[in-house]
């Protein structure tokens, strides 16, 4: 076997003749992104995200199929290469038609995993569903009373019949006696130092719980005699049942795990300094702050609230963070809850390394407004509508009607939101889906002419992996490229049914598809966080 010596990013490597640049890079442990490449299948060289640069000629070459040549010098990790890949991904994304996240989750400030909540409920996995709502919302019952439910306004189902009763679902999951056992959290051991949270409203509770979940001890200082802060300002809170439900919910978070100091106002600079010096970090979750107060504490304040670094929510004082209404006065409790969780992430990083963690939203492709009739594409994924869901706030039961309501969810989030390679690279390379945005988009299509598989042509990147798998397996009909140019599509030959096209290799094709163009009809990835902490 003849050997060839090449260098990648200045590191020399010797590989067998006939190897590709990608093979050589792998030997060196250098990661090169690929979408259309699949080991064991012939090269197709279509996506071009594996772009690397040949230093001698300055030419860009696709690493996945370019054979190595003696003395080749390759640049595979520079800023230039990173940018090139980013742009190529952006071209692919400009024709990518699909929602990574469901519109409802996007609308929820706390990113409640609504479709997953519905799927778990529908499947009768109520414990898991309840754990999920507590994890994401911290106070799913209280929010079930006071939240204006922006999620329901974006529900795709509203285009068809009526929006899903999301708020009622998370409320019931949060208070049903059926799920009480799992709702009592199992806290991780306290490993970190103690963090102070000033304020016991939604953002304070949220920050405290989120920090405790991360393993930090938390002291909460609340000036009044009860927790809840702004939650009590909601008209719904006037209902005596609210007080009862909220109290029951708080039970889960109170106790030895978090020290709640009620009737403990922090007012003077000395008091603040004392707290700061005795805790690893301090979170200001006061709901609001007067200009005199912030001046006294030496905090920078803008027109509406404290000035913080938007990425970390750290104030001008190192180690002092702010969340909720104190930064931006607002009415939505769920926003304060979300803010508390974000600040907890930043604080955790600060306490651990001295640098607050930066919270970056994950890449999220969007379909946007639907054209008339398009909603029909999702209808087969949602259960039938059995008329109006029984009145809210009445029940704590996860009865058949509740489960039927959850089953109405279309599941319009991406089936492969967590495993999609395109999304993964879009995050890794910081791609912007709008840079090369097209003025027009094709219609949303979910092909269902296969009992197990759903095919979304709008998510297809024309990598031809399924075409090659079917061809290699000798499928009599097979998948193929239909048409050409921008309108080229991957389709079953003769545009026959998907079932005939994918033949016996449907499972393999679905697994190999780098996006969710081919996905299992009834299987969604477990939903991951919609952000990355850096």
């Amino acid at each position: 076997m003849k050997l060839v010596k090449v260098s990648i990013d200045g590191r020399a490597v010797t590989v067998a003749e006939g190897s590709t640049v990608l093979d050589a890079a792998r030997t060196l442990g250098i990661e090169i992104p690929t979408l259309c490449h699949r080991d064991g299948l012939p090269h197709y060289t279509s996506c071009m995200v594996c772009a690397v640069r040949d230093l001698a000629s300055g030419r860009w070459i696709p690493a996945c199929s370019q054979p190595v040549a003696e003395g080749m010098e390759i640049e595979a990790s520079s800023e230039l290469v990173h940018r090139a890949r980013q742009r190529i991904l952006e071209l692919l994304l400009s024709e990518h038609l699909g929602d990574c996240e469901a519109p409802c989750r996007r609308a929820c400030p706390a990113s409640l995993r609504i479709p997953e909540m519905c799927r778990l409920t529908r499947e009768g996995r109520l414990d898991e569903a309840a754990r999920l709502v507590v994890e994401d919302l911290i106070l799913p019952v209280a929010l079930g009373w006071v939240c204006p439910a922006p999620c329901e306004r974006t529900c795709r189902r509203a285009d068809h019949d009526r929006a899903l009763a999301i708020r009622e679902l998370h409320r019931r999951l949060g208070c049903s006696p059926d799920t009480a056992a799992v709702r009592t959290p199992r806290w991780p051991p306290r490993i970190g130092p103690t963090v102070a949270v000033i304020g016991g409203g939604p953002s304070g509770i949220s920050a405290a719980v989120a920090l405790r979940r991360r393993g930090y001890a938390v002291h909460v200082f609340e000036r009044s005699s009860r927790l809840g802060g702004g939650l009590w300002a909601s008209p719904a809170a006037a209902n005596p049942k609210f007080a009862q439900a909220f109290a029951a919910e708080l039970e889960q978070h109170v106790g030895v795990e978090i020290e709640w100091h009620l009737n403990t106002p922090i007012e003077t600079a000395e008091e603040l300094n004392h707290i700061c010096s005795s805790h690893a970090a301090t979170v200001l979750a006061l709901g609001s702050i007067e200009p005199e107060q912030s001046r006294a504490w030496g905090l920078a304040r803008g027109a509406r609230g404290l000035i913080v670094d938007p990425a970390t929510r750290q104030t001008n004082l190192p180690g002092v963070f702010a969340a909720g209404g104190v930064v931006q006065p607002g009415k939505m409790a769920v926003r304060s809850i979300a803010d508390g969780q974000r600040v907890a992430a930043a604080v955790a990083g600060y306490v651990r390394t001295g640098h607050p963690t930066v919270w970056v939203s994950r890449f999220d492709s969007r379909v946007g407004r639907l054209e008339p009739g398009e909603v029909q594409q999702w209808v087969p994924d949602g259960g039938p509508d059995r008329g109006a869901f029984p009145g809210e706030m009445r029940s704590e039961q996860l009865d058949a009607a509740t489960i039927a309501e959850a089953a109405r969810c279309f599941g319009c989030d991406c089936r492969k939101a967590a495993t999609c390679q395109l999304r993964r690279y879009a995050d890794q390379y910081g791609a912007d889906a709008h840079r090369f945005e097209s003025p027009t988009r094709p219609p949303v299509i979910l092909r269902r002419d296969h009992p197990q598989v759903v095919y979304e042509p709008g998510k297809c990147i024309r990598c031809g992996i399924c075409v090659r798998i079917a061809a290699a397996a000798g499928e009599p009909l097979g998948m193929t490229f239909q048409g050409r140019g921008y309108s080229e599509q991957v389709a079953p030959s003769f545009n026959d049914g998907l079932e005939a096209g994918l033949g016996r290799v449907w499972r393999e094709c679905v697994a190999a598809c780098p996006t969710a163009a081919l996905a299992l009809r009834d299987r969604w990835d477990p939903m991951g966080p919609d952000h990355i902490e850096r």
Partner: protein
């Protein structure tokens, strides 16, 4: 899409499909020829027939379906009885092909979203280029080509077609010219596609009749393309004294007078005629005829001299005097001599070395050294090798390969046979566009003739070397000009390129080393070997040797096919040979190299024709289209035109090209419609750069050139479009038509308006209803007082009129 309007599909009989399979072949490689045969039989590809093919051949369903949906020539739904192809090549585009296309649709009342008229009579489609650029705009009805179409002479065309539709497509070319000393004179008539489209076949019939009437022994000789396509049909009269007189734009009615002028009985009448002729020549008229129709071209005429004097004929040697298929004549002019020498007294090593020394580089566009390519194939250890002649000339605005194959088929074949011999191949393929029926026929006839004479086949000239040549018909995909795509197409797959390396010279057709050379490259080979490498290398620039054939078209006074020495400047070609822009306008730029090339502004007109020099200005030699643009051409529109071409022709395989060309096109569309955003120019440049760097093949890598060059040299026009203004008054969304005070109320415009946007108002000034106007330009071109003007489409009424586009001259074939 269902088309209820078209005729009921013919019943497809499976035994007939089986017979076709038997005739064509059943291996995987026969996918495209089988589909072409089906399409010819049924006018489309009936699905039941396709399924039958999968059943009865080695072709897989996946491959057959992907091929059937790849080539624009193939269609999956029934078509009308006749096909109308509206050429939208570059030259036609700048002369208003879009308007012609829209007018055809209107004329035939084709419903929106369909391509066939309600009676199922005609199916209309756009085609890239019919290669008759000097007759632009061109429309082909079945196999009959009509030049100089405008919105108002389409009905005449359809009537003409209906009258002659029985006429089968036949090459009017007769067999070999008989050499017989007893002829009293001869009449030569050019029979290239342009000439035929210009009406030369009917001129010939009239010639024969007129000659018969004289009762004298005058022979009619067919010759190939003369190159002066702007003057077609051309007739050259050679008397027994050897005196030659050439007539241009001859019509059948003129023929009798021409013949009489040269060949007539002795006597008093002869003197009378001569006197008459002298007077007419002084007046600059044709022989006793209508001044507009026929003109005698005197070689001393400065125009003709200018057209010919800078040219140098190597690939087109004996231009205008060789009968395309007369092998004897070809041999008398030195043809096959180079091949004979190779086979009898030269070594392949010596021949490859000679080609290397000549400095010959590929004429297909990229300019790879030909000798080096030959050497690489020769050096392969694999004993099975192939040669391919690339005749898939898909560039809009280029037709030199078509002309070479039509007029000099033996020369192309001789070059190919020499190449095959030099690299040690035993099989050769000519891949020729299906849109070139005449080239296909003549190359086919020439192969047969050479086979009869023992130049192709087994044991050629007793050397023990065998060579088989065959033709593969292209499917109308531009990308198949790329060598890996071309090979994929011949192998029966989609014409999608693949990454090089491996180069075809290492692993090509059927996995064996394959030499792919362009037609023109091969046509130069015999001359080089006959005259020696030094003779060839003495022509041209240090790195670009010999000559290059260009198709000169667009807004030029004298368009045609020209062969010029390398190193000549673009200005010399456009101004000296082409006579500058037509109608006394200034030429603004010349588009070199088609969709891969760029627009070179007049200010850089002194750029020499040289691979590197053209690249330095952002253009490219390409395959040799030269389209002259004048002040009435909008450079943004030109860029958009090319992008719409490359976006349509992109195979769709690699994402930078598939998506990048589409995104660029969308931005250019916005610009031309006045909807562009301020950062669009920046975005356009960014995508252009991305597509250029990362595309898989040459198509994508060069597709941004027209955008990048126009952005570089005509940025102000882009900026004007950002403001919603088209300086050339070309972009229809940015202009409107206005009637000026010159209007005499003749109602002519109201009569020609196809959409009734001008209410007739006799003897009163007319008004154009802007909301109904489709900007077809018919009113303006038909107004006898030039009262109709193009003005920017703004509400302000004080804006100055903009330069109107050039008037298209209308010529209806008789």
């Amino acid at each position: 899409m269902k088309n209820p309007a078209s005729k009921a599909p013919q019943e497809v009989r499976l035994d007939e499909v089986d017979r076709l399979i038997e005739q064509v072949g059943s291996s995987a490689e026969h996918a495209l020829p089988l589909l072409q045969a089906l399409q010819e039989r049924y006018g489309y590809l009936p699905e039941v027939a396709l399924r039958r093919i999968v059943e009865r051949t080695e072709i897989t369903a996946a491959n057959l379906w992907s091929v059937a949906t790849f080539y624009p020539q193939l269609r999956l739904r029934p078509a009308g009885r006749h096909q109308i192809c509206v050429c939208v090549g570059t030259a036609c585009h700048v002369k208003g092909a879009e308007r012609v296309y829209e007018a055809v649709q209107r004329e035939l009342r084709i419903p929106e979203g369909s391509d066939t008229d309600p009676d199922g009579e005609y199916t209309v489609r756009k085609v890239t280029c019919l290669g008759c650029c000097t007759l632009a705009p061109v429309v082909m009805v079945d196999h009959v080509t009509y030049g100089h179409r405008t919105a108002d002479n389409l009905r005449a065309m359809l009537e003409d077609f209906a009258r002659h539709s029985a006429r089968a497509m036949a090459d009017p070319l007769s067999g070999d010219n008989q050499s017989d000393a007893s002829w009293e004179g001869e009449v030569r008539i050019g029979l290239g596609s342009c000439c035929i489209a210009g009406g030369s076949a009917r001129v010939e019939a009239a010639l024969r009749e007129a000659i018969q009437r004289t009762g004298r022994r005058i022979r009619v000789r067919h010759v190939g393309c003369v190159g002066m396509c702007h003057q077609t049909p051309l007739v050259e009269v050679v008397t027994s004294e050897g005196q030659a007189v050439r007539y241009s734009r001859v019509r059948p009615d003129d023929v009798a007078r021409i013949i009489e002028a040269h060949f007539q009985p002795t006597g008093v009448r002869r003197f009378l005629r001569l006197a008459e002729q002298a007077v007419e020549q002084v007046l600059g008229y044709g022989v006793g005829g209508d001044p507009s129709s026929v003109r005698q071209l005197d070689p001393r005429d400065s125009q003709v001299e200018a057209f010919t004097c800078r040219q140098m004929h190597i690939a087109t040697e004996y231009c205008g005097s060789l009968h395309p298929l007369d092998l004897g004549e070809y041999r008398r002019h030195g043809g096959l001599e180079a091949l004979r020498q190779c086979l009898t007294s030269r070594t392949f090593e010596d021949v490859i070395e000679e080609i290397e020394r000549s400095g010959l580089r590929g004429r297909g566009g990229a300019g790879f050294p030909t000798g080096l390519k030959w050497r690489r194939v020769r050096a392969s250890a694999d004993p099975i090798r192939y040669v391919i002649c690339n005749g898939d000339e898909g560039d809009p605005g280029a037709f030199m390969d078509r002309m070479l194959m039509e007029s000099y088929p033996y020369r192309v074949l001789e070059g190919l046979i020499i190449a095959a011999w030099a690299v040690g191949a035993r099989e050769g393929i000519l891949y020729i566009r299906a849109e070139y029926p005449l080239a296909l026929r003549r190359i086919g006839a020439a192969i047969e003739r050479l086979r009869q004479e023992g130049w192709i086949g087994r044991n050629i000239l007793g050397t023990g070397w065998d060579l088989e040549l065959r033709i593969a018909r292209g499917g109308g995909a531009f990308v198949c000009g790329e060598e890996t795509a071309l090979i994929a197409s011949i192998e029966g797959r989609r014409g999608s390129p693949s990454l090089r390396p491996p180069y075809p010279a290492e692993r090509g057709y059927r996995g064996h080393p394959t030499l792919v050379n362009n037609c023109e490259t091969l046509a130069l080979v015999p001359w080089i070997l006959r005259h020696g490498a030094e003779a060839f290398a003495s022509i041209g620039t240090p790195h670009s040797k010999g000559t290059k054939v260009f198709a000169l078209a667009g807004k030029v006074a004298r368009g045609g096919l020209v062969e010029v020495p390398m190193g000549i400047t673009l200005r010399q070609i456009v101004e000296d040979i082409g006579g500058g822009a037509a109608g006394g306008r200034r030429w603004k730029a010349v588009q070199v190299g088609g969709p891969s090339g760029g627009c070179v502004p007049e200010s850089l007109g002194d750029t020499p024709v040289d691979y590197e020099a053209l690249q330095a200005v952002g253009a490219m030699m390409g395959s040799g289209g030269l389209v002259v643009l004048d002040e009435a051409d909008c450079m943004v529109d030109v860029a958009r035109y090319f992008l719409s071409f490359t976006a349509r022709e992109s195979c769709g395989k690699c994402s930078p090209c598939r998506v990048g060309t589409q995104r660029m096109l969308e931005i250019l569309d916005r610009l031309c419609e006045g909807r562009a955003r301020p950062d669009d120019l920046m975005r356009l440049e960014e995508i252009a750069e991305l597509t250029r760097r990362h595309s898989l093949c040459g198509l994508g890598r060069t597709a941004p050139n027209p955008v990048l060059t126009t952005l570089r040299f005509f940025r102000s026009e882009y900026e004007a479009h950002l403001q919603g203004h088209c300086p050339a008054g070309r972009c229809v969304k940015l202009i409107r038509y206005e009637v000026g005070p010159e209007c005499i109320g003749c109602t002519r415009c109201a009569q020609v308006c196809p959409v009734g946007a001008i209410p007739p108002n006799p003897y009163r000034p007319h008004v154009i209803r802007a909301d109904a106007c489709v900007r077809c330009d018919l009113c303006r071109t038909s107004c006898p007082t030039q009262a109709i003007r193009i003005v920017p489409n703004t509400n302000a009424s004080t804006v100055a009129p903009v330069q109107p586009p050039e008037l298209c001259t209308a010529e209806v074939p008789s």
